[in-house]
Amino acid sequence: MVDMSTTLGARRLANPLMTASGCAANGQELHRFFDVSELGAFVTKSVMSEPRSGRGTPRMAETPSGMLNSIGLQGPGIQAFVEHDLPWLASVGATVLPSIAGGSATEFAHVAAVLRSSDAFGCVAGVEVNISCPNVANRGLVFACDPLSSAKVIALVREQVPRDVPIFAKLSPDVTDITAIAAACVKAGADGLTMINTLLGMSIDTDRLRPHLGGVTGGLSGPGIRPVAVRAVWQVRAAMDEGRMPTVPIIGVGGVRTGTDALELVAAGASAVQVGTASFNDPTAPVRVLRELTGLLEEKGFATFDEVVGIAHGRQGES
């Protein structure tokens, strides 16, 4: 039996498989298909300070091996989240990585503060900070597109979250140099990084010759973007290995559908893997991927998951 446990900052998780934020709601729906406490961690839909209606519809467009979404961060607000969703997750024994978002750095900090003070905070193994969302003050530019805005959010959130609870900055791939953003976040106090959020994309309704999505542009996800996720994880891990930034754990996400896909991210440097869009195709995907990944490592004769994290580095050019 392979030891599948993995370490994320101060926390050790039973296994590296997680849901991806926004692709699993807050647990009750998927719990009908599998026991969500079997996951290394359950990542919740990004929650903001107030309830949000999200955008109009259509909110999705199907694309080859992927989809576009423009949900607009619909959610109940942090108060309802800590009153209903988090206690439910705690009640079924789930390990939780709440994802938080905000339109300003102070909104992020406020959400983190309410979260920390929740009675159910004990089930929280870390906080994912979704900085791939629009900064209201900066013409709606995504925080994660700018190292300074990113750092500010992370620093304020870090102050609110207890030291022994790691925080993860979730990065956008839509930048010229993702290692620069990654380094800024770690410097500001991020204990780890989640990569990647969706790519900015768009589709045209060719019947009506107008943008397909109510929100015009949307986030591209699914297997088609996996090569971008693998590359991002690889680049940031390489920057760590080369001493260009401190080494922190990476959570890989983007286009994972099978155990082999997950293994790509792990070998590139991810200490944990999230499954997003694939769950829409197969609701049991997160636990199926865990099973498949475990099987693959067993076949290959590894004793622990840890050995495989980043294993592909230094292997290029071998024959």
Binding site: L30, R52, S53, G54, T57, R59, I71, D282
Partner: protein
């Protein structure tokens, strides 16, 4: 906060759902549609009229990732005479790549099915007269519903409408399972030339119907809701929003619906619908191409840009 007329959502969320590799046991052409029978005992054992199934398209390496949703036309629970498990029937209109793939499956092929999903048609507790309205393949789930209603002592009238005769579904079955049948077509190729909403007032009034159940295109559902309200009946309409997951985890399928607290929320039509009370849907915010967020909805953006 998720309260809805007849069934609290927490119940819907807890409602059992299965995923199974269903064998296609029969597939026949019916007018413009394909009628598929799937051996899907898990779904068959749980489903109620108005619920739907979500089918995966293609194999593991398919570039088409999202499931396609179809109303359940009929279920035959339990082991059938030939020892096979229960079956689930659906009626599919091939409109795009996904439905073309599904309708071109052959007997013995397997299709990955998730179901039953969604909130079923709520049944009246007293034997009131009911009218069912189906637009195109929207009639598919209504015959099963008609049977259940008549079992409860309700009189059932049905109105079937479509663009043309070949797009009507189940006229014969309607005559068997309902007390009265009215047919309309846009082009007059069968029944009354016109829309279901043209004949509906009469049908409601004639029986003094208390509930109108409808399934079909959004425009029709709105008209049915208006007519029902004007004629003193409660409308229960099954909507069709674009769905990515069908099981409540993606938030793509939302509709603006008024809760029992009087507040409008963008609710998921896959788990909190597809059946909504017609007078609870904010039709003013539903356009032919999608729903906008009403400015008074809970959590609506301060400055609405759209």
């Amino acid at each position: 906060m998720n309260d809805l007329p007849t069934q609290p959502v927490s119940a819907a969320r807890r409602a059992r759902v299965v995923q199974e590799q269903a064998e296609l046991v029969a597939t026949t052409r019916v007018g413009a549609y394909q009628h598929l029978t799937l051996a899907s005992p898990g779904v068959a054992g749980l489903a109620r009229p108005g619920q739907f199934v979500a089918l995966a398209v293609g194999d593991e390496s398919s570039g088409t990732l999202l499931r396609r949703s179809f109303s359940i036309h009929k279920v035959t629970p339990g082991p059938s005479s030939n020892g096979a498990g229960g079956t689930v029937e659906i009626v599919v209109s091939a409109v795009g790549a996904g439905t073309r793939w599904i309708t071109s499956r052959q007997v013995h092929d397997r299709i990955d099915v998730v179901g039953p999903v969604g909130r079923a048609f709520p049944l009246p507790t007293a034997p009131v007269p009911c009218v069912l309205v189906g637009g195109g393949y929207g009639s598919a789930p209504l015959f099963w519903l008609a049977g259940e209603l008549r079992e409860r002592g309700c009189t059932v009238d049905i109105v079937l409408g479509a663009a043309s005769e070949d797009r009507l579904f189940g006229v014969l079955e309607a005559r068997r399972s309902c007390d009265g049948v009215t047919v309309t077509t846009d082009d007059g190729s069968a029944g009354v030339k016109g829309w279901v909403s043209d004949v509906l007032p009469d049908v409601i009034d004639r029986r003094g119907a208390g509930v109108v159940y409808a399934c079909g295109p959004m425009g029709m559902l709105r008209a049915v809701s208006d007519v029902a309200a004007a004629h003193g009946a409660v409308a229960q309409v099954a909507v069709e929003e674009a769905m990515a997951c069908g099981i409540g985890i993606c938030m793509t399928c939302v509709m603006p619906v008024v809760g029992s607290d009087g507040l409008t929320r963008m609710v998921r039509s896959c788990v909190e619908g597809p059946v909504f009370r017609g007078d609870r849907v904010r039709w003013d915010a539903v356009t032919p191409t999608g729903a906008v967020v009403p400015p008074d909805a809970v959590g609506a953006p301060r400055a609405v840009t759209r």
